[in-house]
Amino acid sequence: MKKWIAALLTLASINTFALTVDEIVTKANEAAYYAGNDGQADVKMTITDAGGGERVREFRILRLNTGEGTQKFYVYFTAPADVARQVFMVWKEVAQGKDDSRWLFLPALNLVKPIAPGDKRTSFVGSDFVYEDVSGRALWEDTHELIEETDTQYLIKNTPNDPGAVDFSEYTVLIDKQTFLPVKAEYLDKNGKLFRRVEAVKIETVQGHPTVIESRVDDLARGGHTVNSFSNIQYDTGLTDMIFTERFLRRPPREATR
């Protein structure tokens, strides 16, 4: 009987206050990847392998929202010394059937090379993050399901619509009700085993936007993890479309270097 009441109450609460699952994931996606019109941050990435060895990469990331969910990213490396001035640039597409455009600039070879569309779940510069963690995963690629709701969080289960294209069978995301930032994502492998976890470790509000200032991903299958620490976070600095072009790969924009 008690269960009944509880069930009824839950139903009632969903009907009256709750957002639909699509609304939740859309809001979360916006909070996580689209804050402001543009944004930039310095990132210190610490990759720790299973044996405890550490590698550090530092880069500045510039992001510009370009409408209808599309975005442009400019990643400018500053450390280690030997990869300084290396650039990775993405024009992100979200519409079905459209691929991202990606470029690479290797200063030591004075080489600009476009990267053909490919698997976005490959490692980002050798870290445990994948490209998709950096630029986001299009919502239509998964079927979302609200499987739990507490006072503070939503738990969403996401099942890929094209299981063959990804390395997981499903993942769950915990979304903070207040900020709508995803705070924890857990990926299950094809055999239903947890193999990967992405967490928002520290969140602060910057220019009114709740912002993840430290994120961590754990590779539970191999061991090892990567931590990204964000600093000098700025929103709405007035980045222009112009700097997200091939021309600015060889000659980095002031926004990236100063």
Binding site: G51, P80, A108, L109, L111, K113, R247, F248, P253
Partner: protein
């Protein structure tokens, strides 16, 4: 004293029987606990430095033991690169990757749809074996239920990276076989991609295009048999033209374990049967010969029970315990029986006869047992754990056999041999007539006596010829060759090594000798040279200023032992910044402005002038700085749009390149680069690989440099077909030149970082450490012969000594193939020293036994001749000195001295009794020679069943032990008789005087 044990047994035979029964039961109940260890790696103790390093290397570079599955198609014109075969390989790969455990604990494959494969072997024999081995064929998971296959590291076309060119000059990073091909063209494209990757050609794909190999990494070797079985089951429905070969050292080892058990369960009982039949032939009374059979069986049961009970695993060596013990254990009881048989008529009473026989044989039997024990026990001092365990247990077994002979045999005779039967037995002479051996032995005795000089000369000749043969001995082993030629493991090994770069793996590792990079002084010197090269032409004045600054810094650090290069930089950067403010700084600002210009501002040169302002600072700088420059300002006026921007930037580039700050940052990257990012070091590795690949047995080497070159080529590739015709050749040349180590550390680092972010994560780190300080070169050999591996290691060492690496490196080898070389080395030296020590021990025993140094030496002669002859034979026959051969040496010693003991003991006795050697020798070649001969024949024939064993080492042991017995038997009878004849003056004179 001598008879104490025996008297006790004669008085309380039932107590003896009871005790023996208890011991037997105790031994037998240990048997179900048996565990097998078929890992040759365990030939080395776990603390052995090379093994520790090997494991450390595996951990460092995430290397695993591999089950290698070769798919060969020689029928199809495209070899394995046809749509069907590739499709099957893709399915197999996905099936292996999908392996998971069901809730019921069974393995489940989810591709194409979930099913639980029936892994039970079809043959009843294999099922039984699996039972005995406690091998759960479904055991494919660790305790957490994770697959035993290390999925992330599986090597198959479907899951290895491929960098290739895509449309519009883009670079594509995907798996080699992202999708199984649908058309012939797609299949051939996969072939071409694979062949163009130096990391795959010769490893993943055969250069002859007929074969593909999957490398299935497993978390532990013990899973290899089950994984191989799984692969066989999953491919059971493949057509005949896709032949499947499974190998890899773990599989070979596991299979070896199975064969070992077959050997144990067949050869040992067979040996027992042979011995039984021989004894029956000699003594013709089953009730009599049950006693030695009991002694043999009980010794084996108790010894093996002890071994298992103590928690030792049965290794290849210990699996031979039964077959060694069986013939040795019966030897003493054969002597007792033989004598009992011959003397019963004299006493007509069992007890009396036993007392007489034991009293008579006690000393020689004690000593023969002690020498045998010494021979085996000397193995305890070898550095090879399984050999130690083997030696200790056989020694124990021999001791036990002696005790049983002294107790159980008398008790048995008393209780179970009917007196009537003994009384009915024909008298000694009558019995003797029956054996054809007597006549032969007597003739032999006369020959030894009369022709003693000839015999000695022949013996010396044998020794000389054998010594020459020993020089020819080739120390070599190869665990795969432990299988007989037609074994499927050997066939798979042959086939795969023909198609691929080799299934035998060794790793050559490079570790920098010193922790740090170069010192500040070196760094500053390097920078000075680089600054001159870069700036002196254009900015002589500033260059001089800059290098002077570097010199001052150098002076400053001259007397400092250590310094952090970063420290030098801080000072330098500030100075460089000031210089840049004057020279390149304005140009940088200018370039930046041009870069940020809107398209509208570049519509024409005019528009540009309008935007920047004619005569503005922009054009002022341009004009000022252009004075004396080669760049032409005029050319710009005709341009517009992006062309104009590019042209303007080209001018600024010439000057912005003169930044001292940029220079310093670049230099810092170069100077602080770890060894494996330094171009000279990487090129040296490439040279080393070239040298390695010159060895005929080295099929292939792989290093991070191969990956680097390939990535450098693909990153910088320009499609010649998009260029105008006359440029194509030039572009092609340029492309080819890019298949190399880039010129700067930064360039290497930037290419490497692309490789770090490939689809198959971290695969680069099998070949280089994450800090790029150490490297691992994967060396594949087509032969697992230790001599081949050893010569590769030795020659490589020499080459490195002559061509030292630019950064001093410690060079170390790892990998199973190399481990084999090491344990073999240990084996050879260990065996030699144990042979030496047991020789000395036995010699001392002999001197004590005979209370005469001369007799002691004499006793050692037949076995010395025997050992020399046997090893000479091995040398002349070209048989490799391998593990089983090595073990034989100490056994020979302990076994073959027995004959000499019996012979000398009896000879001395008879001489004393008869007073003349001429008379004594006649007697010697009657009953005493008969006993020795029976023993020799029993033991050597007892070892013969080993010849039918499925594994080569057992055959070798069987053959050589039989030969050793025969040779030492003949050596004893001929040489000892001849020597005594020659030395009788010295041997008997003193004795005779003493006895008077």
């Amino acid at each position: 004293m001598k008879l104490k044990l025996t008297n006790f047994s004669l008085r309380f035979p039932w107590i003896i029987i009871l005790l023996v029964l208890i011991a037997a039961v105790f031994g037998a109940i240990q048997f179900p606990k048996v565990q097998f260890d078929n890992d040759p790696e365990n030939m080395l103790s776990p603390n052995e430095p090379v093994r520790v390093f090997h494991n450390q290397n595996k951990a460092n570079y995430a290397l695993y033991d591999m089950v290698i599955v070769g798919i060969v198609n020689t029928n199809h014109p495209d070899g394995v690169f046809n749509v069907e075969t590739l499709g099957r390989i893709d399915v197999l790969t996905r099936q292996l990757l999908s392996l998971r455990q069901t809730d019921a604990g069974l393995p489940e494959i989810t591709v194409p749809s979930p099913f639980v494969p029936d892994l039970q072997p079809e043959s009843a024999r294999k099922r039984i074996l699996a039972k005995i081995f406690h091998n759960d064929i479904n055991r494919l998971f660790d305790e957490n239920g994770d697959s035993a296959i290390v999925k992330a590291e599986l090597i198959s076309p479907s899951v290895v990276d491929n960098i290739k060119q895509a449309e519009h000059g883009a670079l594509k990073i995907e798996y080699l076989m992202e999708q199984p091909p649908a058309t012939r063209e797609e299949a051939l494209a996969i072939r071409d991609d694979a062949m163009n990757n130096p990391l795959y050609k010769g490893t993943l794909v055969a250069e002859d295009e007929k074969a593909i190999a999957l490398y299935i990494p497993i978390i532990e070797k013990t899973y290899s048999y089950n994984v191989a079985n799984l692969v066989e089951k999953l491919t059971a429905d493949w057509p005949a033209e896709d032949q499947l070969y499974i190998t890899g050292q773990p599989v070979a080892q596991d299979t070896f374990g199975v064969e070992m058990l077959v050997q144990m369960s067949s050869s040992a009982p067979l040996a027992g049967l042979v011995i039984f039949l021989l004894l029956l032939l000699f003594f013709r009374r089953i009730s009599l010969i049950i006693a030695p059979m009991l002694v043999a069986t009980l010794s084996v049961v108790c010894t093996m029970g002890l071994l298992i009970g103590l928690g030792f695993k049965v290794h290849i060596m210990s699996s031979m315990i039964a077959i060694f013990l069986m013939p040795i254990a019966v030897a003493d009881s054969v002597h007792i029986l033989s004598e009992f048989f011959d003397t019963y008529h004299r006493f007509g009473d069992k007890k009396e006869t036993v007392r007489h026989v034991v009293g008579h044989l006690f000393t020689p039997m004690l000593y023969t047992s002690l020498t045998t024990i010494a021979g085996f026990a000397s193995l305890i001092f070898t550095p090879i754990p399984p050999v130690r365990i083997f030696g200790a247990h056989v020694a124990f077994g021999v001791g036990l056999a002696w005790v049983l002979t002294m107790t159980l045999v008398p008790a048995y005779i008393l209780l179970f041999v009917p007196k009537k039967m003994l009384d009915r037995m024909p008298a000694k002479e009558a019995h003797h007539k029956r054996s054809g051996l007597d006549g032969f032995l007597e003739k032999l005795g006369m020959f030894s006596y009369k022709r003693w000089k000839l015999i000695l000369i022949l013996s010396v000749l044998t020794l000389i010829v054998s010594s020459v043969g020993i020089q020819k001995i080739r120390v070599n082993d190869n665990p795969v060759k432990w299988f007989t030629k037609h074994h499927r493991i050997r066939i798979a090994d042959d086939v795969l090594n023909r198609h691929f770069g080799g299934t035998y793996t060794a790793y050559l590792t490079l570790t920098p000798e010193t922790a740090g990079g170069c010192t500040c002084i070196e760094a500053l010197e390097q920078m000075s040279a680089a600054a001159n090269a870069r700036f002196a032409g254009k900015l002589p004045e500033q260059t001089a200023q800059f290098t002077a600054l570097l010199d001052r810094q150098r002076e400053k650090y001259r007397n400092v032992a250590t310094c952090n290069p970063d420290e030098c930089f801080v000072t330098l950067i500030n100075a460089a910044q000031k210089m840049d403010d004057e020279i390149s700084g304005p140009w940088s600002t200018l370039a930046d402005e041009i870069n940020y210009l809107e398209d509208a501002d570049l519509a024409s040169f005019q528009a540009l002038e309008n935007k920047m302002g004619e005569g503005s600072a922009f054009f002022q700088t341009l004009e000022n700085k252009m004075a004396g420059s080669s760049a032409s300002f005029q050319g710009l006026e005709k341009l517009s749009g992006e062309d104009l921007r590019e042209a303007a930037l080209a001018i600024t580039d010439e000057y912005t390149a003169l930044s001292f700050v940029d220079f310093l940052y670049e230099q810092r990257a170069e100077i602080t680069a770890p060894p494996m990012k330094q171009p000279p070091m990487l090129r040296w590795i490439a040279q080393l690989q070239n040298h390695l690949e010159e060895f005929p047995k080295v099929g292939k080497t792989s290093s991070a440099v191969d990956a680097l070159k390939k990535a450098s080529y693909e990153l910088q590739y320009i499609d010649p077909s998009v260029a105008p015709g006359n440029f194509r050749a030039e572009i092609k040349t340029k492309n080819d030149a890019n298949y190399s180590v880039p010129d700067t550390s930064a360039a290497c680092a930037q290419v490497f970082i692309q490789l770090e972010g490939m689809k198959k994560k971290d695969s680069l780190f099998h070949l280089v450490t994450r800090d790029y300080r150490e490297a691992n070169i994967w060396v594949q050999l087509t032969s697992g012969d230790n001599t081949d591996m050893a010569s590769v290691a030795e020659e490589t060492g020499k080459w490195i000594a002559e061509n030292p690496p630019p950064v001093p490196m410690n060079i170390q080898w790892a990998g199973l193939t190399y481990l084999n070389v090491i344990w073999q080395d240990r084996m050879v030296t260990g065996m030699l020293s144990s042979l030496g020590s047991s020789f000395v021990v036995v010699l001392i025993m002999m001197m004590v036994l005979f209370r005469s140094p001369l007799y002691g030496l004499l006793a050692m002669i037949p076995l010395t001749v025997t050992i020399t002859f046997i090893y000479g034979l091995i040398g002349w026959a070209g048989k490799d000195y391998d593990m089983p051969v090595a073990v034989l040496s100490s056994l020979t010693l302990g076994l073959s001295v027995d004959f000499a003991i019996h012979f000398l003991e009896r000879a001395r006795e008879l001489q004393k009794k008869l007073g003349s050697w001429a008379e004594a020798i006649k007697e010697m070649f009657k009953e005493p020679a008969m006993a020795i001969s029976r023993n020799a024949i029993t033991i050597s024939l007892g070892f013969l069943p080993l010849l039918f064993a499925p594994l080569a080492p057992y055959r070798t042991v069987g053959f050589f032990l039989a030969t050793i017995m025969i040779v030492s038997w003949l050596a004893t009878l001929f040489i000892l008789a001849a020597l005594i004849t020659g030395l009788k003056k010295y041997l008997f004179k003193k004795r005779t005087t003493n006895s008077h």
